[in-house]
């Protein structure tokens, strides 16, 4: 079992560190080059959201299993302002910052499972998984 790893996001440099960590873990778990790129890109989007909207937070990568399948789980947590309307932020093109509004819906498309828990004024936790084929 791969040990879980956590990257703390405080600056734009940490976004690169988090996605490199995710890619390395995906590689160790046997994901191919294209899935490694999908996972690294999704983590890049989610880590950037932490940096842009919450300032600080964490990205944790761990191995997960379900009957007959192995995968990787990414948990992104922050104590930022939270998301008022999750349905709205999941729309393509919606953005409150200088991004293109591709971050959350894009990350969701790159991963297999994707869930958001968020409370205004408390923070946001995004959990996503990719299963090995």
């Amino acid at each position: 079992m791969l040990q879980s790893k956590t990257a703390v996001i405080r600056s734009d440099l940490d976004i690169v560190i988090a996605r490199t960590m995710a890619r390395d873990s995906a590689k160790l778990l046997g994901f191919g080059a294209i899935d490694q790129a999908r996972i690294a890109t999704a983590v890049s989007e989610l880590a950037r959201n932490i940096f842009l909207y919450a300032g600080t937070g964490t990205v944790t990568v761990r191995e997960v299993e379900k009957p007959g399948r192995k995968g990787i789980e990414i948990v992104c947590e922050d104590q930022g302002p939270g998301i008022a309307n999750i349905d709205v932020v999941m729309q393509d093109g919606y953005s409150t910052s200088r991004g293109m509004g591709m971050g959350l819906p894009g990350a969701k498309r790159l991963m297999d499972d994707f869930s958001i828990r968020s409370q205004e004024g408390v923070g946001t936790t995004i959990t996503c998984r990719k299963w090995r084929t």
Partner: protein, 127 residues
């Protein structure tokens, strides 16, 4: 903190920048500024950005590349993107970033041919 600078080489009328490192946001923005300044200073007719060594292009970098192409276009300079890895092309499209207005070529060599054709087409009539 100092951001990492991407070297920009000039060959004839063309500028070539090969990105060899994982770009963080600040160094990517620095690259955009450096490149546009160099286009202005050298009056380059074309710019090739080679991404052969880049394994992740997220929405921030993707947008920045589209911006560079649009901005250089406003200055009268064409941008060709070369060497996109298959995994990068797949993730960009899945992410929803198809960069429809950015010219691309399979590799640097083909990029140079495309660039030659483009700069010949635009000719020296305007000079």
């Amino acid at each position: 903190m100092d951001s990492l600078r991407i070297p920009i080489l000039k060959i004839g009328d063309i500028l070539i920048a090969s990105i060899q490192v994982a770009l963080h946001d600040a160094s990517a923005v620095q690259f955009k500024d450096d490149l546009l300044q160099k286009v202005h200073d050298t009056r380059a007719k074309g710019v090739i950005i080679d991404l052969t060594a880049v394994d992740v292009v997220d929405s921030f970098i993707g947008r920045l590349i589209a911006d560079i192409a649009a901005m250089a276009g406003l200055m009268g300079t064409r941008v060709v993107l070369t060497g996109l890895q298959p995994a990068v092309a797949i993730t960009l499209v899945e992410l929803g970033l198809e960069l429809p207005r950015v010219l691309t070529a399979l590799n640097l060599e083909k990029g140079l041919i495309v660039m030659q054709r483009l700069t010949e087409e635009s000719g020296d009539a305007a000079v």
